[in-house]
Symmetry: C2
Subunit: 134 residues, 2 copies
DNA sequence: TCTTACGCTTACGTTAACGTAAGCCGAGTA
DNA sequence: TACTCGGCTTACGTTAACGTAAGCGTAAGA
């Protein structure tokens, strides 16, 4: 059962100590304490990875907290399970909207790139003004 | 050539007047002025749509500004074109990273959902503890 | 002419997500 | 024992992206 110090974790994930402490303060992480010192287990590393992925996706921290919280919810009773299923579908809708946005943007970038190449070709081949092909 | 007032645009896109003015103040929009009043043309609507899509993707406004700026850059000279192509590939990398993150998250949500359904089935069928199937 | 509606500017307030000191503690070491 | 190193807490500072209020301008209707 390996453990990590706060600096080790910070270096591994490329964040500052402040960030990790901040995440703990806001309930996103919950490391063990040996006296005052924080001890991070593998489960904490996984959580941090999840949080940072959420950040890359541009989610605010409180939403990330709810999402990550879903992963380690105890099986609980039927009402809880139904609620959780509901939350899952909400998140899924969000993510699928984002995927659509991303694909649209990527398509436009492709388009833009093509035009750039066309312009470059035009410029370097004697400037035939605005003709369609060569 | 239809035009829009600021309130019309705000209602259509579900944002406040303040937001639109803020975007103008920061160079994301650039509507015509008739006296003091803003007049929005279709190109402005398109820009606003692009900005809001960027927001949904979680990009900060200054990055959105650069991205949107790429779309209406004048063909310019070779150096500019090369720079633009470079920027395009940077953005594409970012977006593809995000897409990966999204797909990972979606996969985990699927997983979680399956477990929820399993738990529900177990609970409602006489509680056979932790058996694999029925 | 008075009011109402819509738009404008200026400016201070607010929240999120940390950054950045300042100062304290305990373990190892020269 | 005196340092230094790594970690800790407390707390004020900062930036982004607006919210919110105050007060003004002007055109259209009562």
């Amino acid at each position: 059962m390996q453990t990590w110090t706060i600096t080790e974790l910070a270096e591994e994930f490329g964040v500052t100590l402040r960030t990790i402490r901040f995440y703990e303060e806001h309930g996103l992480l919950n490391p063990e304490r040996r006296g005052r010192q924080r001890i991070f287990h593998n489960s904490d590393r996984v959580r941090l990875a999840l949080v940072l992925r959420g950040k890359r996706l541009g989610f605010p921290l409180d939403e990330i907290k709810r999402i990550v919280g879903m992963y380690d919810a105890e099986p609980g009773e039927v009402g809880q399970l139904r609620y959780l299923l509901d939350q899952i579908s909400v998140r899924r809708d969000e993510l699928e909207q984002r995927r659509k946005d991303i694909e649209e943007t990527l398509a436009e970038l492709d388009d833009l790139e093509r035009r750039c190449h066309a312009d470059l070709a035009r410029l370097s081949s004697g400037l035939p003004d605005v003709g369609e092909d060569a």
